[in-house]
Symmetry: C2
Subunit: 423 residues, 2 copies
């Protein structure tokens, strides 16, 4: 639709031309027009059909949502502090919960004080505030390749120039990170998800963590650690925030979404004493503060229950489901398809031979085999890589359904390997 | 702090210079550096002292927070739908609540369907999403003068060029709005709070509403109606959303903050069928969706209680408190100080003679008279107007305390009128 916004006529009178049914879309910003978020939504919608086994979700398992305990926590904290909880609060968040978050880091040996913690409406909002705080249009942001698609879409609002840094089985390729920094001396941020990354499930080794710290040391670049999965570890390894290696050069985004409930929308940011006030400012200018109600209920739940036992229960189930998926992959996938073996988190990442197209395979598998995954392209910032990769999740699927889903997927994969161009 | 980001030496090796205690503030964006939000926070902090009567807050009265009813609603809705509420939800928000919002507009005679409604984390977030959806750096935004300081600070993140349009006793100056549009043909938005405006308390007359509609008709400009106070009417008048006059040219931002609780952080946007998906996209890229928990509890509260009776109770009290403030102003204020008489909402706006400085008066009144208001400057976008104006709120203060506060303020005002330059 063409719109003449206003033109000075020969008589000097400004005239306006428009359509009665004008829909105002001409007023949209470039950042919104260029967003690929709708594309990702359409993938999830395509998978949402009766009979389809979905391995595409990135959802925590709802059977661990502590409904009764949250009801009890609501009654207790509202009776004790209701007039305060239901009033406007500070942009930094509910102080008792900020203290709990700080103490949990301290227990891991990472020095965090409540003044460094700003509560957010989920960890994704921490990414949004990071964007508004640090990214001017055209600024270079180094980001893992692949990376969490939600982080990509949110940072894109601030119109950065992305430079992807490959992730290997034991973490980001530290040499590639060093080269990317040398070649982009103005880069402000490196976005990383070092513990059970979405989408790859990769856990950074200690060597990778030390390597990142060595590469960025003394440089004017911040590492943004997106860290919602760290607690979901299966085998006794204890991933600790990169803040241990990086100190104030690290900004950590955390969340209760994977360990309590995502529907509460409560997460947090940890930044240095110097930068935390800018996160509070960012929060103030977007939605004043996170829901006091949700924050206070979570805090009371944490006070009255053993969160570590709760998380252990989640992890025991996720480990069984991961094992079921790994076992089924060994049984049903063609050997040409390589997959990660995550030590925690919710995701397995699959790589097909280069010439296969995961988007075609996805549509074919949904239509003919009734199984859904997430094609890999949207997890990269360059629109090129990842077209032969896909993500699978085991978090919400029972082991027998996982086996059947992987069996169906193996059938679709075999078909595509036989005739990649025909698919 | 000066930082050398990187310089090629004679040998071709890139060397980096920095400080060990580097605080990374050099990485902050201009939008954050230029924000005046910290200034406003400092005003509220200055007022937060023992013994000071605060007429500065913009808070709803906590005695109307329905603590017991929200506890009951939590238990009921969590038992009925807990697994859904605690899971991730759609970016548009909790469907039953979107339906309730749409129906409430329909009861007013304004056609709204649930597809037009996107739930937000308070109405301020609706302003933030409006900014990311429509404002490129340098775009012209017409805005009331004075305007809600939170709206100004939030829109400033998107670096617009503001053009202020004066607000008179019966609404925006329609002729001035027409001139502003003619002189700024690329202006995309007009930001307005037509019902009991923050800070002035002004209610747009029907003539002003019709005038706004006539002036913008057929132009490619959207009216952003910030409308959190409309339900707080004292005298039977029924302000209806500007959507009645403007149709799809209006984007309305609503909130449960003033009629249920601000600590829940639940508001909404109403946009056309064409634009609502972009609000959902904006929500998706900032924090996925509003807290399902808070949304569902509010919905259940609305189902099980008479919200109109609840609001009538709030308004009866606010009317008593407004009357107490008006009576005390007549008794204690110098006649040179003019004030609005709001028909609803939470605020009275005062205008002193031009040569008086409200910021000086504010500090003097806090220090010597132990009473606080909000100086008028931050409510304007040009940093010039409003320096002789200030905002008072009666919503949270008992009538006898209001009288004492206004008595103290009258004393401070009289002193400044006697010797404006000495203060």
């Amino acid at each position: 639709m063409v719109l003449e916004l206003g033109s000075a006529s020969a008589t000097g009178i400004v005239t306006f031309w428009t359509y009665l049914m004008f829909d105002y879309k001409s007023l949209l910003t470039n950042r919104v027009r260029q967003s690929g978020a709708a594309q990702v939504s359409s993938i999830f919608k395509a998978a949402d059909r009766p009979g389809v086994i979905s391995l595409s979700g990135g959802l925590p398992n709802p059977k661990f949502f502590p409904i009764d305990k949250l009801i009890a926590a609501t009654e207790k904290v509202m009776r004790a502090d209701g007039h305060n909880i239901l009033q406007y609060g500070g942009s930094e968040g509910y102080l008792p919960l900020r203290k709990w978050v700080a103490e949990r880091y301290c227990k891991q040996g990472v020095e965090v004080v409540p003044e460094m913690v700003v509560m957010t409406s989920g960890s994704l909002q921490g990414m949004d505030i990071t964007g508004r705080t640090f990214i001017e249009p055209g600024d270079t942001v180094l980001i893992e390749a692949p990376a969490f698609v939600g982080a990509i879409q949110t940072l894109l609002i601030y119109q950065p120039r992305f430079v992807g840094v490959p992730v290997a089985a034991d973490g980001v390729d530290v040499q590639a990170l060093g080269r990317a920094i040398s070649e982009n001396p103005g880069a402000k941020l490196f976005e990383a998800c070092p513990s059970f990354q979405n989408p790859s499930g990769v856990l950074y080794s200690q060597a990778a963590r030390d390597g990142v710290a060595a590469v960025v040391r003394d440089l004017a670049i911040l590492v943004v650690e997106d860290d919602p999965y760290a607690e979901l570890r299966f085998d006794g390894s204890q991933p600790v925030s990169l803040r241990r290696e990086l100190g104030d050069q690290c900004i950590t985004l955390g969340s209760f979404s994977k360990i309590v409930s995502p529907g509460m929308r409560v997460g947090w940011t940890v930044a240095s004493r110097a930068l935390a006030p800018y996160y509070a400012l960012g929060k103030q200018t977007t939605d004043s503060h996170a829901s006091n109600f949700a924050q206070a209920v979570i805090w009371q739940f944490l006070m009255d229950n053993d969160i570590d036992a709760h998380i252990a229960g989640i992890n025991a189930t996720y480990k069984i489901q991961r094992d079921a998926m790994i076992t089924a992959i060994a049984k049903y996938f063609p050997p040409e398809v390589k997959t990660t073996v995550p030590l925690g988190g919710m995701f397995i990442w699959a790589t097909m031979p280069d010439d296969l197209d995961a988007m075609k395979m996805f549509h074919d598998a949904v239509d003919h085999d009734l199984v859904a995954v997430v094609p890999g392209g949207p997890f990269y910032t360059d629109g090129k890589r990842g077209n032969h990769q896909f993500r699978m999740s085991y978090s919400t699927v029972e082991p027998d359904v996982i086996e059947e889903g992987i069996r169906r997927l193996g059938r679709a994969l075999a078909r595509h390997l036989d005739a990649p161009s025909a698919s």
